[in-house]
């Protein structure tokens, strides 16, 4: 059996990769053979450390020493000093930016602070189908504490003091919502979990439900205790079968332990939960539409007030919170409002889970403190843009949000800053776009989604969005006019101002923010009929360069619509009126004579 004593971990994330990590890996391997250390030391390539700014990163195991900005010429010193002499190479240790002091050893805690997992604390840690593992990780302690040591009022006070705001998108203060529901008098009240996650590219809530279902059940029971409800309902879309299955297992186990049901923990408090299935309609994420859907009615929103806190499910006071909001609550009760309020910005406390998607290297689920910048999220945790392309924009808030650009990269992320920047927090989808993405086409993509998902109850949303979509379609087809651009903007404002619910009030946001940030691209589409990203097919032209064309006729023979003409051994020509932009000619040409403009 080999007895490897040291492992050298070299970051192979794309960020470090472009900063020479392959050379470092090779250099270490050479040196190890040179010094005959093969049976003691092993070099390994790892994934991204989420710390690309300081790359390339080298980590020594088992002592967890962390070297930053390592160059190939440092390898020999690391091997010589660290492994043979047992001394750290001081100059390569990470220096804390605040103190300028070297941070070594396993104390690299201070340096990897970019992510804190509160809502995701048990995801990927415990077995979600085993309640014992949840209990071992402080599970149901918060419920026990609330029922035994706190009153509903003091528990609500903790929620208010923590500064927790709704994670479903709106950002309404959770404690305040609970207080309003508590104040509503009725013989029956309900607590609802909104698990109708529908933004394209968002999967935060699904991950919480699949990885830590008990945290949601526990928080719903706490919510019931505070608001005076003994019945909880989880509204979840049927297209999340695994989440549903794990919720059911969790509910069954909680009942067996008596953590749901009658007389919970001997305190006389009764609370139980049921599941209600949705059919996957985006509008049902809106709380009034959600409630109607649960009642068996059409999933259409109604005007607020009355708010669900006063009159909701079956006309009774109903407190609706989102999955991620719930997942934070047991941790807040256990660790205290002050602890939670110490994380984040002045008006947005705690962390936010984001689903990173699009043209980014480390696609995945992250949880970051409020106040982190987009630059840190995209270029450090996310590992930067795929294939070293140029960053263009990031869409937050899904189809209701807006595009944030280069100029917003250093803005601290919180509810208010994102709105000021023309977007919104939304539920946490973050779709990153690069130079190959056309912003007009992007706006069209989101509009297509909204048109599909609009419930049709109010005309601004039903007809207005359709008209917006048609205009965008016209522009990407190359027949848009400058007048259309003004119409786009005006109609967007009308839809925002006159729609009944949040869906219509926010659906023009992608149009408005792309108009504001990328007006020049719209103008190009309209005036010179050009799509700089090469995305809008109708605006592309295949052209034959007469200098390179030798007249072999191969392209003409392969053109499916006979759009190419020309004599043998003479330069050919593409008739743009006939061309369907299939690209077959360019693929066949052996002389690089065909190009796109």
């Amino acid at each position: 059996m080999a007895n490897i004593k040291y492992h050298i971990l070299v970051c192979g994330g794309t960020g470090c990769h472009s900063s020479l990590s392959d050379d470092i890996l090779k250099k270490f391997q050479e040196l190890i053979i040179e010094k005959g250390l093969q049976s003691d030391v092993q070099v390994i390539k790892t994934g991204c450390f989420g710390f690309c700014e300081q790359g390339p990163i080298v980590k020594m195991m088992p002592d967890n020493t962390f070297y930053t900005q390592v160059k190939p010429e440092d390898c020999s010193e690391i091997l010589e000093e660290h492994i043979i002499n047992g001394r750290r190479v001081k100059r390569l240790l990470y220096k804390s930016p605040e103190t300028e002091e070297s941070v070594g050893g396993s104390a690299h805690k201070g340096l990897l602070k970019k992510q804190i997992r509160i809502a995701l604390r048990n995801c990927g840690v415990i077995n979600p189908e085993n309640i014992d593992e949840y209990i071992a990780k402080d599970g149901y302690q918060a419920l026990g504490k609330a029922l035994t040591e706190l009153t509903p009022e003091t528990t609500i006070a903790i929620m208010k003091k923590s500064g927790l705001r709704g994670r479903g998108g709106g950002g309404f203060p959770t404690g305040l919502k609970w207080e309003i529901t508590r104040a509503s008098e009725a013989d029956q009240k309900y607590v609802v979990c909104n698990a109708d996650e529908g933004d394209p590219g968002a999967f935060m809530d699904r991950s919480v439900l699949e990885g830590d279902p008990h945290s949601v059940l526990e928080a719903m029971a706490i919510n019931g205790y505070c608001t005076g409800a003994d019945k909880g309902l989880i509204y979840i879309r049927a297209e999340y079968p695994l989440a549903v299955e794990r919720l059911k297992i969790a509910m069954k186990q909680a009942r067996q332990y008596g953590l749901l049901g009658n007389d919970i923990l001997g305190t006389g408090f009764n609370f139980d939960i049921d599941i209600r299935y949705g059919a996957g309609a985006f509008v049902c994420g809106e709380e009034t539409a959600l409630i109607h859907s649960m009642e068996g009615l059409r999933g259409e929103p109604t005007v607020k007030p009355p708010f669900p806190s006063e009159s909701g499910y079956l006309g009774k006071p109903t407190n609706v919170n989102n999955v991620e909001t719930y997942a934070n609550i047991p941790a807040i009760i256990n660790k205290g409002a002050e602890w939670f309020a110490s994380i984040g910005t002045e008006r947005s406390k705690g962390t936010k889970v984001f689903a990173l998607a699009g043209k980014i290297n480390n696609v995945g689920l992250i949880e970051v403190p409020m106040g982190i910048t987009l630059r840190e999220v995209i270029f450090e945790i996310g590992g930067g843009i795929k294939n070293d392309k140029k960053f263009k924009a990031v869409q937050t808030g899904g189809p209701s949000g807006g595009m944030l650009t280069e100029k917003d990269l250093d803005t601290p992320i919180d509810y208010d800053n994102l709105i000021a920047a023309g977007s919104m927090m939304g539920s946490g989808g973050m779709i990153v776009m690069d130079e190959d993405d056309c912003m007009v086409a992007m706006a069209k993509f989101y509009l297509e989604f909204t048109v599909e998902e609009s419930c049709g109850k109010c005309s601004p949303c039903r007809i207005g969005n359709k008209r917006l979509f048609e205009m965008l379609e016209k522009i990407t087809q190359g027949s848009g006019t400058m007048e259309d651009l003004d119409k786009l903007r005006n109609l967007s404002y009308v839809i925002k101002d006159t729609s009944l619910c949040g869906l219509g009030q926010s659906s023009p946001n992608p149009v408005l923010s792309s108009l504001n940030n990328f007006y020049d691209e719209y103008i190009e589409h309209v005036t010179v009929k050009k799509c700089r990203a090469g995305n809008c097919k109708a605006l592309m032209q295949y052209i034959i360069n007469p200098d390179n064309c030798i007249g072999c006729t191969l392209c003409a023979r392969n053109c499916p619509v006979n759009a190419i003409s020309g004599e043998r051994k003479q330069a050919h020509f593409i008739d743009q009126d006939k061309c369907i932009k299939c690209g077959a000619c360019m693929e066949k040409c052996k002389f690089n004579a065909i190009y796109i403009i």
Binding site: N64, N127, Y240
Partner: protein
């Protein structure tokens, strides 16, 4: 049938008990304690083959008579590197391996579990937990 927990004190007692049993598995230096393998099994992990990978671990452990516990867990967040697997050898920090297909699962058993050699594609932990925050 599990017994009902009748009070907060009972809940705390149960937690203490579970902590010691689970904690022993995770933290102790005792060599007779078992190796723990956690496979990330959210929808995304399963879609990229986590179930098959979990089966490989279970089969290989039985075949080679290796005393290890294989459990499922939720999403670890590293979608770009699914399926992901966390392995804790007694006395060592947990290590997360990414891009684990069936072939790589066998390789991890050969290299890391039996020989203490690492394999490429380790995912460094890049977040803080609430315990140390």
């Amino acid at each position: 049938m599990m017994e009902k927990i009748k009070s907060l004190a009972d809940l705390k007692k149960l937690q203490e008990h579970l902590r010691t049993t689970i904690g022993l598995r995770e933290k102790s230096n005792e060599p007779y304690l078992r190796i723990q393998v956690k496979v990330a099994m959210a929808t995304c992990g399963i879609a990229s083959g986590a179930k098959e990978v979990m089966e490989v671990f279970i089969e290989e452990f039985t075949k080679r008579n290796i005393d290890a516990v294989v459990t499922q867990t939720g999403c670890m967040g590293y979608c770009y590197a699914e399926p992901t697997v966390e392995i804790t050898k007694p006395g060592n920090d947990p290590i997360v391996f990414g891009y684990v297909d069936c072939k790589k699962a066998s390789k991890i058993i050969d290299k890391y579990i039996l020989n203490n050699e690492l394999v490429d594609g380790i995912i460094p932990v890049n977040y803080e937990t609430i315990d140390n925050h």
